[in-house]
C-alpha cells in the first residue's frame, strides 16, 4: 500500500471519528437524563419532546436576548419545568408513563412550532446567536487526534465531564443510591426512611435538565443557531435505546451513544461512497439493542436457575 492511500484512509477515519463525536453528543446528553428516570423506574419515552422543547427554548431565548449563554440557561430552566410536569403526572397522579411520554412528544411538536410561527412568523428559527467551535491549542496540532478531538462545540467536551459526574452521582453519592433504590425496590427505600417518590421527582427533573441541554446543544451547537420542527429526528428514542443498551450506567450509555454516533458517521461516509446503504447501517444499533434485551432476560433467567440449583444442592447435602 502506498503512502497516499494510507493518508486517505487516515483522513476518512479521522473525519468519521470526528463525526461520531458530533453525532453522539446530543444523544448522549439526553440519554444521561433518560438514565436517571430509568433508574427511578419510570419508562420515559417522552425524551424526544423534551429535547425539542429544549432546542426551541434555547434558540428562541438566544435570538430574543442575543445571547447563546442565556439561551442555554433558559433551556435548563425550562427543562426543570418539563421535568416537574412529567413527574406531576407519572409520580403524583400515577398516570400511565407511556401515555404521558407519547403526549409530551406530540405536545412538544405543537407548542414549539406554534410559538415559533406566532412569535417569529416562521416554522423555524435560524441565525440565533450560537456556540462556536472550540479549537484546542496543542491538541489540534497532533496529527490524527487533533482532527478528531479538536474543533467541536462546547457541549461535546462538557458531555465527557457530565458522563463522569453522572457516573459519580449515580454510583458514588447517597442520592444516587436512593434514586436507584427508588426504581428497583421502592419499598426498601421507604423502610430505610427515605421517600422514593421524592427520588422519582428528582430523577424526573434531572432528566428534563439534560434533555433541555441536549436540545440547546442541537440548536445552538450542532446546527449553529437553528431550530426546525424535525431537527430532533428521533434522537429521544435513540437516547432511550442507549439507556436500555447501556443498562443505565452512564459510561456504558455513553459508549452506546458513541456506537450510534459511529454508525451515523459511517452512514454519512457511505452516502458518498454508495457501498452500503446508510439506512441499513443506521438500523444496526436498534437491532443490537433488541438482541441485548433478549440476552439480558435470558441470562437473568439462567442466573436465577443457577442460584436455585446451588441452593437445592445445599439442601440435599444437609
Amino acid at each position: 500500500m502506498n503512502e497516499n492511500s494510507w493518508s486517505n484512509i487516515l483522513t476518512v477515519a479521522s473525519s468519521t471519528l470526528n463525526q461520531m463525536l458530533r453525532s453522539a453528543t446530543p444523544v448522549a446528553l439526553a440519554a444521561l437524563g433518560g438514565l436517571m428516570t430509568e433508574h427511578a423506574g419510570i419508562m420515559n419515552i417522552g425524551m424526544d419532546g423534551m429535547i425539542l422543547m429544549g432546542a426551541f427554548t434555547a434558540a428562541a431565548v438566544s435570538t430574543a436576548l442575543m445571547s447563546a449563554a442565556l439561551g442555554i440557561v433558559a433551556s435548563v430552566i425550562f427543562g426543570i419545568l418539563v421535568g416537574l410536569f412529567f413527574a406531576l403526572f407519572t409520580v403524583k397522579l400515577r398516570s400511565d408513563e407511556f401515555i404521558i411520554g407519547c403526549a409530551l412528544n406530540t405536545f412538544a411538536m405543537g407548542i414549539t412550532v406554534y410559538l415559533s410561527r406566532s412569535l417569529f412568523d416562521s416554522a423555524g428559527i435560524s441565525n440565533a446567536p450560537h456556540l462556536h467551535n472550540i479549537s484546542i491549542p496543542l491538541i489540534r496540532n497532533i496529527p490524527f487526534l487533533g482532527s478528531v478531538v479538536s474543533g467541536h462545540s462546547l457541549f461535546v467536551y462538557l458531555t465527557w465531564a457530565f458522563v463522569i459526574l453522572m457516573w459519580l452521582f449515580v454510583y458514588r453519592t447517597p442520592v444516587g443510591f436512593w434514586i436507584r433504590a427508588s426504581g428497583e425496590s421502592p419499598e426498601t427505600l421507604r423502610t430505610a426512611g427515605r421517600n422514593p417518590e421524592r427520588m422519582k421527582w428528582i430523577a424526573s427533573i434531572l432528566c428534563g435538565v439534560f434533555c433541555g441541554l441536549a436540545g440547546a446543544h442541537l440548536s445552538l451547537g450542532n446546527l449553529n443557531g437553528q431550530f426546525g420542527q424535525r431537527m430532533v429526528a428521533g434522537r429521544g428514542y435513540i437516547a432511550f435505546a442507549c439507556v436500555i443498551f447501556g443498562g443505565a450506567n452512564p459510561v456504558k450509555v455513553f459508549a452506546a451513544a458513541l456506537m450510534f454516533g459511529f454508525f451515523d458517521a459511517i452512514g454519512l461516509q457511505l452516502q458518498s461512497s454508495k457501498l452500503v446503504d446508510p439506512d441499513l447501517t443506521s438500523a444496526i444499533p436498534y437491532v443490537i439493542t433488541i438482541i441485548m434485551m433478549v440476552y439480558v432476560v435470558v441470562s437473568g433467567q439462567r442466573r436465577r436457575e443457577r442460584i436455585a440449583k446451588q441452593q437445592l444442592k445445599k439442601l440435599e447435602l444437609k
Binding site: 405536545f107 410561527r117 437491532v287
Partner: protein
C-alpha cells in the same frame, strides 16, 4: 323499563363521559388562552377550529379519512391491549405495510386491479403481521418487554423503508429522491368525494371496524381475549390458551396497521413516501388509551380529533392560526384524561379512609356502651 335504564347505566360510564367532556372543555380553554395571548381573533379562530371540517366537501372528506386512520390505528391498539399486549410498534408496521403494498402495486402494474389490489393488501397484512409477531413471541416466550422492543422495531422499520424507497424500489426518475414509483391510477381506491382523501377505503374500514368491534364484544374469542388481557393467570387457570391468544392478538394488531399503510397508499398518496404516516399510529394509540381500549369510544374520539385537526387546517387557511394549535389542544385533552384517573383515585381513597375511620369510631362508641 327500569331494567333498561339499569343496563344503560351499566353500559355507560357516566364518570368517564363527564371526564371526557371536562377534558375537552379544559383543552379548548387552554387553546383559547393561547390564541388570545398570541393575538388572534379568538372567536373567529374557535369557530373555524370547530366548524372547519364541515366548511366544504373536501374538508369533510379529508376529515373522515383522517378519522378512519386514527380509528383503525386505535382499534389495532385495542386488539392487542384487549389480550394484554401493548403494541407500540404500529408505526413501523404501518409504514412497512405501506411500502410493500406500494411496491407490490409497482410489480403488478400490468395486472388487473382485481388481482393487484388484493395482492397488495395481502402483502401489507403479512408484513405488518410478521413485524408484530416478533415482539409478540419475545414477550410470551422470554418475557421481554414488548413496549421497548416495538419502539426499537419502529426505528428499524423507518430505516428499512428508507433503504428500499431510496434504493432498490426507488422511482427511477432522477428527480425523485425517496419515493416509490406512482401506482397505476386504476389501482387507486375510487374517491368518494372528489379531490379529497376520502376513498372507498373508508367502506372497507367501516366493515373492518365493525368486525373488530364484533369480535371483541360479541364473540367467544373476544371473550377469551378479554379474560386473558384482564388476568392471564386466571385465563390459563380456566383452560384458555393464553400464550397463543396474546401472540395472535398482537399479529392481528400488526396486520391492521399494515392494512392502514396500504390504505394510505391506495387511498390517498398513490405511492410510498416518507410522509405516508406522520406518527399517525401514535396518535391512534393515544386515542385508544383515552378511550380505555373500548372500540366505540375509540371511534368517537377519533372523530373528535379528526374534526379538530381539519378544523385547525381550515383555521390556518382562513384565520392564519398555526395548525400546531391542534397538537396542543389534543395533548391537553390527553393530559387531562391521564391525570383524571389519578385525581379520581385520590378522591376515592380519601373518601374511603374517612368512612373507615367513622366506622371504627362508631364501633368504639358501641363497645364503650357494652363495657
Amino acid at each position: 323499563m327500569k331494567a333498561f335504564f339499569l343496563r344503560l347505566k351499566q353500559k355507560l360510564d357516566f364518570g368517564y363521559l363527564v371526564a371526557l367532556l371536562i377534558s375537552l372543555g379544559v383543552a379548548l380553554l387552554i387553546g383559547t388562552v393561547i390564541l388570545t395571548v398570541t393575538g388572534f381573533d379568538t372567536g373567529k379562530a374557535l369557530g373555524a377550529l370547530i366548524g372547519g371540517s364541515f366548511s366544504s366537501r373536501q374538508y369533510f372528506g379529508n376529515m373522515l379519512e383522517y378519522a378512519m386512520v386514527l380509528c383503525l390505528c386505535g382499534l389495532a391498539c385495542d386488539v392487542g391491549s384487549r389480550a394484554g399486549i401493548f403494541n407500540v410498534g404500529g408505526e413501523g408496521q404501518l409504514i412497512l405495510g405501506a411500502l410493500f403494498a406500494a411496491q407490490i402495486g409497482v410489480w403488478l402494474k400490468d395486472a388487473s386491479p382485481w388481482i393487484a389490489i388484493p395482492c397488495a393488501a395481502l402483502g401489507a397484512v403479512l408484513v405488518g403481521g410478521f413485524y408484530a409477531f416478533i415482539p409478540g413471541v419475545l414477550k410470551v416466550k422470554l418475557k421481554v418487554n414488548e413496549v421497548i422492543t416495538t419502539i426499537m422495531l419502529n426505528s428499524v422499520a423507518v430505516f428499512i423503508c428508507g433503504y428500499f424507497s431510496k434504493g432498490p424500489w426507488k422511482n427511477p426518475s432522477p428527480r425523485v429522491v425517496s419515493d416509490t414509483s406512482p401506482l397505476d391510477r386504476s389501482f387507486m381506491f375510487s374517491k368518494l368525494i372528489p379531490s379529497s382523501n376520502l376513498s372507498t377505503a373508508i367502506i372497507v374500514s367501516a366493515v373492518l371496524t365493525f368486525l373488530v368491534w364484533y369480535i371483541l364484544q360479541k364473540t367467544t374469542k373476544g371473550y377469551e381475549m378479554r379474560l386473558t388481557g384482564d388476568n392471564p393467570r386466571f385465563a390459563r387457570f380456566a383452560g384458555i390458551k393464553a400464550d397463543r391468544i396474546v401472540i395472535v392478538a398482537m399479529v392481528i394488531s400488526g396486520m391492521m396497521c399494515g392494512l392502514v399503510g396500504m390504505f394510505r397508499v391506495y387511498g390517498a398518496a398513490g405511492k410510498y413516501q416518507s410522509s405516508i404516516s406522520n406518527d399517525y399510529y401514535f396518535e391512534g394509540l393515544m386515542v385508544a388509551m383515552i378511550a380505555q381500549y373500548q372500540p366505540i369510544p375509540t371511534i368517537i374520539i377519533s372523530l373528535i380529533f379528526a374534526i379538530l385537526r381539519w378544523g385547525a387546517i381550515f383555521m390556518e387557511d382562513t384565520v392564519g392560526v398555526p395548525i400546531q394549535i391542534y397538537w396542543i389542544i389534543q395533548t391537553a385533552v390527553i393530559f387531562c384524561m391521564a391525570g383524571e384517573k389519578g385525581v379520581r383515585a385520590a378522591i376515592h381513597k380519601a373518601r374511603e379512609t374517612r368512612a373507615a375511620k367513622r366506622e371504627i369510631e362508631k364501633r368504639r362508641e358501641g363497645g364503650a356502651v357494652r363495657e
